[in-house]
């Protein structure tokens, strides 16, 4: 167990370093983008004089390292500053949206992970049966449509008929039941998008082990196929499965901007895209760090679980 604790401590320390690197990469990439906040805010209406005046007002004339340093010292003391585009405190901008994003991710995960695992295990158990083929073809078809397109089709079927709303209008005061109802379509869209990946990895990881000598042994002992899959193959197949689940959970938090746009869901993805196109670096940085932290955290959990499930990794020579 001490291996695991040492690993967690190291990884958290590394994670903090990672966040620092991410903030540098994001700052540098945003700097490389053509234009800055002043030209983006003024858009077509920009003239040299107004741009110069706005730059001075926003403090954009300082060299990049100075601005990065100012941001970093602020962030380290917990002050992420204000959005330069409209002077709103970033904590206020992000607060409700972070909650929305996490809610949608958990909602979609709560539907997709059980479905994916069940389908994956059953497909592996009844491999090459009609069930396997149909489940596979269905899951594959679902992910071969772009997200926005899946969303449009669901809206056509389930919203235009009046069963679910076509867009999500939630406020902080919306109660849980309404939230679940209104967010059903985006969550279902995401479920369709991520299930196939997890399901296929589960199936592949289990089948990959089915020819191993110890499975052969179990089979010769006369164990039932279900028991072999659940008790013998699955535990050893957990590492890749956990990794794929972690990847997809991270995706549900960080990568759902398209679904947010289609369902007008006020999440972090839309905020990040807007901030990038405004070159509003303080907001970009804050959201990027949240995404990075979510990602690092989920991966840490995945790696810890993989290690725990594989004694050979626990006692590495």
């Amino acid at each position: 167990m001490s291996t695991v604790i040492r690993m967690i401590v190291t990884r958290i320390a590394l994670g903090v370093g990672l966040l620092f690197i991410v903030s540098l990469v994001i700052f540098w990439a945003t700097e490389l983008l053509p234009g800055d906040l002043a030209t983006q805010l003024l858009g077509q209406a920009a003239t040299p004089e107004t741009v110069a005046a706005l730059r001075a007002q926003l403090g954009l004339n300082d060299p990049a390292p100075v601005r990065y340093w100012a941001w970093l010292t602020g962030a380290l003391t917990g002050d992420f500053g204000v959005s330069l585009a409209n002077n709103r405190p970033i904590a206020e901008l992000i607060g409700a949206r972070l909650g929305n994003t996490v809610f949608l991710a958990l909602y979609a995960a709560a539907m997709s992970v059980p479905i994916a695992l069940t389908l994956g295990i059953l497909s592996a158990l009844w491999r090459n049966s009609p069930f396997d083929r149909v489940a596979n073809a269905g899951a594959l078809s679902a992910i071969s449509f772009p997200e926005f397109f899946v969303a449009y089709i669901l809206v056509l079927w389930l919203a235009q008929t009046g069963i679910f709303p076509s867009m999500v209008r939630i406020t902080p005061s919306t109660d849980f039941g309404d939230r679940v109802y209104m967010t059903f379509l985006p969550a279902l869209t995401l479920t369709l998008v991520v299930t196939a990946h997890m399901m296929r990895m589960t199936r592949a990881a289990i089948i990959n082990l089915m020819a191993s000598p110890y499975i052969e042994m179990a089979r010769l002992k006369g164990l039932s196929p279900l028991r072999i899959v659940l008790r013998h193959a699955l535990p050893n197949a957990l590492a890749p499965i956990i990794n794929v689940i972690a990847l997809n959970l991270a995706y549900l938090i960080t990568g759902v901007v398209v679904v947010e746009v289609v369902f007008v869901y006020p999440g972090l993805g839309q905020l990040m895209v807007d901030a990038v196109s405004n070159r509003d670096i303080a907001v970009v940085q804050a959201v990027a760090l949240i995404f990075a932290a979510a990602y690092v955290g989920l991966n840490l959990i995945a790696d810890v679980l993989s290690t725990i499930t594989n004694p050979r990794l626990m006692h590495r020579r």
Binding site: S144, F148, M201, N208, N243
Partner: protein
């Protein structure tokens, strides 16, 4: 309704041809090829048939397409008819011709991108798992840093900086995909490098490259192949999502991902036009993964 029936009949027809093809192959082939065909399920035969058809279409696009890829030959959104079998698109180009050219462009780009991502990602991933220590830490943390930035937004940043030529599109999507492959390859390889036969090979004094190539890769290939099948189709989706944000492949080049996006609003009114390119992507995805499943099954060594 008519469309649904056409689709079902079309798929049934493809299955029938695939079955006939498998039968023909079984009766003509000899040796190892014969054995491979013998245990080939019908779905795999179907997958191979579809892939062959796509390849033929892609290679002979200029011959097959009734109209040039970019020329305006009709009015906006003409209905399906004798002259334009699948109608015309929003500026009056022939839909069928664009789908045919789309096969060439889309499949070519997706294949190049996925192959590149896998070569780079899996070799680095296995190397990291094998070597461990600081190299593993540095590579893994670097990949983590890249992956921690959402793929779509990262692609958007990179493409805005480097421009949206086909080459930069391939490189950017491959770079983003390679990080995902790296992570999977490393996870799989971690389970393998602790095996006794690797220990033995290390003690024999084999070098890393030999270990990767001869000992680890063959044993890690199954999950990687499974991933390949999915990543391949994710490239279409990435291009489609990028065109949602106003990037993607430049006109007048036809590609399915952008074609779905261009016509997507029509689905709101139950019009099937955007289903055509989306269906092309879906059919290919299913076909590729059927073949992948068959290979996966063969690789697993199961003989039941």
């Amino acid at each position: 309704m008519g469309v649904a029936i056409t689709v079902i009949l079309g798929l049934a027809g493809l299955f029938a041809i695939a079955a006939a093809g498998r039968f023909a192959a079984r009766s003509t082939l000899r040796g190892a090829a014969r054995r491979a065909v013998n245990d080939m399920p019908l779905t795999a035969a179907f997958g191979i048939l579809v892939i062959v058809i796509y390849a033929v279409v892609a290679l002979t696009a200029p011959v097959l397409a009734p109209f040039p890829e970019r020329e305006i030959v009709g009015t906006q959104f003409e209905a399906w008819g004798a002259e334009h079998w699948l109608g015309t698109d929003r500026i009056g180009r022939d839909m069928l011709s664009r789908l045919i050219y789309g096969a060439r462009n889309t499949v070519g780009i997706a294949f190049a991108t996925t192959a590149l991502a896998f070569v780079v990602g899996s070799i680095l991933g296995i190397w990291a798992a094998l070597t461990g220590g600081w190299l593993d830490q540095i590579l893994s943390r670097f990949v983590d840093a890249l992956m921690a930035i959402p793929a779509l937004i990262f692609s958007l940043l990179l493409l805005t900086i480097f421009g949206t030529s086909v080459l930069s599109l391939i490189l950017v999507i491959a770079a983003v995909d390679a990080t995902r492959v790296f992570r999977l390859a490393r996870a799989v390889a971690q389970g393998i490098v602790v095996m006794d036969y690797i220990e033995a090979a290390k003690l024999r004094g084999e070098r890393s490259w030999f270990l990767i190539r001869r000992e680890i890769l063959p044993n890690a290939v199954a999950p990687l192949v499974a991933e390949f099948g999915l990543r391949f189709c994710f490239v279409f989706l990435a291009i489609s999502s990028l065109s949602f944000l106003g990037l993607g492949i430049k006109p007048p080049t036809a590609d399915w991902g952008s074609m779905v996006r261009e016509n997507a609003t029509l689905i709101t009114f139950g019009d099937v036009t955007p289903l055509l390119p989306a269906g092309c992507i879906a059919l290919l995805t299913v076909a590729v993964n059927f073949v992948v499943d068959w290979q996966l099954y063969r690789a697993s060594g199961l003989k039941e």
